[in-house]
Symmetry: C2
């Protein structure tokens, strides 16, 4: 009797959830929409100490696309966080300077909507994008450029100097920290609202019946216990793989000192295969089932996984229109690339 | 008396040339402007058998920027012919798959204005861009993707299939040749008119007095004997380095079977350092002097080289506005990257 009753309630809850109260259920799970107004969005992402301005965004965009920020002149931020490819690179382990794979076999996370993350990097060691951007530029297996090389390259190009002055005033010091924080300001604008946000803002028809069903399953299975917030990800969560795998089997990355891992965003997830910290799985359906097994300790059957994937597709957002920059030319003073 | 007279005539000719007849002098040297009307331009670059259409250009742009056309998913046409960097890559020898430098130490030529070249590649072995585009995609040290891999990747992505149908009709066969010829149609649009063209079209004030002086020196020194046509380059010319260097010293590239080499375009030349087939020289002034010595067998002094460089800067053109594409996502059927 008790079991039947519980099942009855569950069935009822599911039916209700497919109506308008599904929005409430989603919000109760901790998931939030991207604000629908620029005013609200700016309030959320802007830093009054270094406010977003058009001059900084345009300059940050140039720096983001400029491969001269790497030791070799060959790798830009956009190489691994490609704005044409969902903000990632479509390979397993990131590959950088000298064709070196990430030593922990870590996969490049998307830059889109990363402004909404609580923490950056797979182990969450950076609190914000300006700090994050300093890492890959210097890392040996990524862009491999020491701070002073980056500073010397940028300061050797008069047009860059002028743009920094326009953005920050004539007394700006164009150092590594300023260069990377300017990149971060561009990255803050890489926000991709989707039909899911319209749904949460009250447009019930923004999602199809099938997508709502998938969303309901997504919540019921517990996916939102990690994939919550605006990004449906971006928070540190217990990294449960030790129960199922030996770390050495999956790239030897163990999360942070507390065994926590940054949950990837699910926005634009259909565009950012392969999945997981090590890019081990290419199929989104398989990834959903694997997460059920590894993180939630449940079996997600084929039908439920299909439903969840149907919902996840509705998280594909509208990308900002980005005019590809024309970068200022190097000068005779610009330090040359090296490939060793 | 005779010598004095000759010098007198030369001096007079120079004075006249700095006036309006400099345009005639330039045209007599074989240099031509980019047509000022789209009508004339299209007549020049369009192929009635495969006409330029907006649908093909937009699709070609996506393919041009798509790193999934490479074996590794990491290298696109734009990696070496970067539209943000003068259409080239700012390194000496091109570097491709597995961080492999071009075996002949060849430098990536710019894609801008390449539609005006008589021949493509440093040895001119391709007659046109559609043929050229097939080379680097397949070449082991470049994108390293066999034809069938490229075809399988593109045909695994329904949005690409739809775009090919829109561009070419429902019966289109999406094979390697069609993929690369579509890239070439995008490349045909990469034309960069400059102040020099305005000058040749009759706007005498489009060039400064100093630029006109440099242009005059450029013609007088004989630079236009190779750097002519619309591109100020792009024709096959005798490769004279054997008189000054051993081939092994300069990358071991010997030109084509007849010892001819494709002259690089001088348009946007300030943006495409390093110079020469082997990217050996970074300074434009030094490059001018080296060409005088190697190709023309004359000594160009510092002052004349400075004047010529002043003129060359006026060849920097207006780049087309390119919205960075959002590429269609891979599917479960899309062949995976490999890195070996």
């Amino acid at each position: 009797m008790k079991i039947v009753k519980v099942l009855g309630i569950t069935a009822l809850a599911t039916t209700i959830a497919l109506g308008s109260s599904l929005v409430e259920k989603v919000k109760n799970s901790g998931i939030k929409p991207i604000p629908s107004s620029n005013y609200e969005l700016l309030k959320l992402i802007d830093d009054p100490k270094d406010p977003i301005t058009n001059a900084k965004v345009e300059l940050g965009k140039k720096l983001y696309f400029d491969p001269r920020l790497s030791r070799s002149n060959l790798i830009s931020c956009n190489t691994c966080h490609n704005l044409a490819l969902g903000g990632a690179d479509n390979v397993g382990a990131a590959i950088g300077h000298k064709w070196t794979a990430n030593p922990s076999h870590l996969n490049s996370p998307t830059v889109y909507n990363s402004v909404f993350f609580d923490a950056q990097f797979w182990d969450g060691r950076s609190a914000h994008l300006a700090d994050q951007a300093q890492g890959p530029v210097q890392a040996g297996p990524e862009m491999a450029a020491p701070k002073d090389l980056v500073e010397d390259r940028v300061n050797s190009i008069p047009e860059y100097i002028n743009e920094f002055k326009t953005a920050y005033g004539d007394n700006v010091k164009i150092n590594f920290e300023r260069i990377t924080s300017t990149i971060a300001i561009f990255e803050k604008t890489l926000v991709t609202p989707s039909r899911f946000d319209q749904f949460l803002h009250g447009n019930e028809n923004a999602l199809s019946k099938e997508e709502k069903k998938g969303l309901n399953t997504f919540i019921d299975k517990g996916c939102a216990s990690c994939h919550n917030g605006i990004a449906l990800g971006g928070t540190l969560q217990p990294f449960e793989i030790a129960a199922k795998y030996k770390f050495a089997e999956v790239g030897d990355f163990k999360g942070n000192a507390q065994g926590m891992v940054k949950t990837p965003t699910l926005r634009n997830i259909t565009e950012t295969a392969p999945y997981f910290h090590n890019g081990a799985i290419w199929s989104l359906k398989e990834a959903v089932k694997e997460m059920g097994s590894t993180q939630l300790g449940i079996k997600i059957n084929d039908k439920d996984a299909d439903d969840i994937v149907t919902f996840l597709k509705a998280l594909t957002g509208e990308k900002p229109t980005i005019v590809y920059p024309v970068l200022p030319a190097s000068t005779d003073k610009t330090p040359k690339p090296s490939f060793d």
